[in-house]
């Protein structure tokens, strides 16, 4: 396999560089998820409120993020925030903000769906014990909603991980961007390297996302049973 090109992966610091790029993708995904899920849980609870105004506002928020492709979202934050608000934060921070808001919109819908699908009688028997609205949320509705929403939340996480592949488009040094640089640097000496570099990245995404999807599938089967 001397000339198959696989050696590109291990030449010099290439492998370490790829792992470094992977780390960038991972922390952006994790941070966006943490912020997005926290915000989304809050928005989801608000979306079950009786106020029409609150409902409409959060619905529009959700639909905006549903309609705009994530690539476009990244560009909106990357080009418009710095210019309109005079912010000069690094692209990775812009990406976290964009992803976190997107996650919060998607998650708010998941939380809302789960909350309204907790059976009405569960809510009533909580009330019958004298629980107030807040206690009802904390002890009865949220824990039950959590179980219902877990598979969808894991699926959302796998989408966020896949979406980090778009980071290269706003010049974040993620795993794909590093990969592309390595491919270009070795194009003359090792034209087959491209196969291995992109193959490895393909595989890296797969080994992160596949177990998560399997887990989500198992959980949702159990919820149905």
């Amino acid at each position: 396999m001397g000339h198959s090109g696989i050696n590109v992966l291990f030449e010099g610091r290439n492998f370490t560089r790829l792992l470094g790029g992977l780390w960038t993708s991972v922390w952006i995904a994790v941070l966006s998820l943490i912020i997005g899920l926290a915000l989304g849980a809050l928005f989801g609870v608000l979306r079950t409120s009786k106020s029409r105004l609150v409902k409409v506002i959060f619905r529009i928020y959700l639909e905006f993020f549903r309609i705009v492709p994530t690539v476009v979202l990244l560009f909106l934050f990357y080009y418009i925030l710095p210019r309109q608000f005079n912010l000069s934060w690094p692209a990775s921070v812009m990406a976290v903000i964009a992803f976190a808001l997107w996650v919060s919109a998607e998650f708010s819908d998941i939380v809302r769906g789960a909350l309204i699908s907790v059976p009405k009688i569960q809510r009533e028997s909580g009330l019958a014990l004298g629980l107030n609205k807040w206690q009802l949320f904390i002890y009865v509705l949220l824990p039950q909603a959590f179980q219902l929403e877990l598979p969808a939340t894991i699926n959302l996480a796998t989408r966020v991980i896949k979406t980090t592949s778009l980071l290269m488009m706003i010049s974040v040094m993620d795993v794909i961007n590093v990969g592309q640089q390595i491919v270009e640097a070795n194009n003359q000496t090792n034209p087959n390297g491209v196969f291995w570099v992109y193959g490895l990245i393909f595989f890296l995404y797969f080994i992160v996302d596949y177990p998560l999807s399997l887990w989500a599938k198992r959980l949702s089967k159990r919820n149905e049973a």
């Binding site: 690539v71 560009f75 080009y79 896949k162 992109y198 996302d209």
Partner: protein, 219 residues
């Protein structure tokens, strides 16, 4: 925000719009055909092929479209398969979408209640008759919401075609920004263009979902 700039850019955006629309259309139809074939193979447990189908579905669903496109566009020529960007884009979208559509159809077939299947069996239906008269008609109806969600998802994914320089909407906006720097205007037009495609479509799909749900089974 300047209207003049927007106006000047419109002809280019119209071209990009056309590319996005026709590629989405072909890609989605292709994805539905691939998805349906895959889910039928899984439903009838065709030996060996069903394992290959499962592997394909998992691979395609758990990797990003962007890296799938890079592979097709940059890595395949190394093994002697050179294709145009447009061909790569369509193959990528069908590869990704086929897996999602397969899951949608399979989900529908799996969603039919056991009682329905058992009452079919009770009147002596064969597996094929059961599929033909009970599982498929009800399963298609059940899979409509997931298919609708996939259609919207796949149209949005075409924005990623811009990485291999297919002149669709997003790529058009990026090119214009690169040339003239009017990012506010071009991004505004870009968002509106996606809204023009997706809002009516999502309303149409919601309407269709309702019709299927209430129309077919009357509850």
């Amino acid at each position: 925000m300047s209207w003049a700039i927007i106006q000047q850019s419109l002809p280019q955006f119209v071209k990009g719009f056309q590319v996005t629309v026709w590629m989405s259309f072909v890609g989605i139809i292709g994805a539905m055909v691939v998805g349906l074939c895959c889910s039928l193979i899984q439903y009838f447990h065709v030996p060996v092929i069903d394992k290959i189908v499962s592997a394909y579905v998992e691979l395609a669903r758990n990797t990003p479209l962007l890296i799938q496109l890079f592979f097709l566009y940059y890595a395949f020529p190394v093994i002697g398969l050179k294709m145009s960007a447009i061909t790569c884009g369509l193959i990528g979208l069908i590869f990704l979408g086929g897996a999602y559509m397969a899951e949608a159809f399979t989900g529908g077939f799996d969603g039919i209640s056991k009682n329905q299947i058992e009452s079919g069996e009770a009147i002596g239906m064969s597996k094929w008759q059961l599929a033909r008269y009970v599982v498929f008609p009800q399963g298609f109806a059940l899979s409509v919401p997931a298919i609708a969600a996939n259609i919207i998802f796949l149209i949005k994914e075409t924005s990623i075609f811009s990485v291999i320089a297919i002149p669709e909407l997003t790529n058009t906006a990026l090119d214009l920004i690169g040339l003239y720097y009017h990012s506010n205007e071009y991004l505004f037009v870009l968002v509106i263009a996606y809204a023009i495609i997706l809002i009516p479509l999502s309303l149409l799909l919601t309407w269709l979902e309702r019709r299927v749900r209430y129309g077919t089974f009357g509850d």
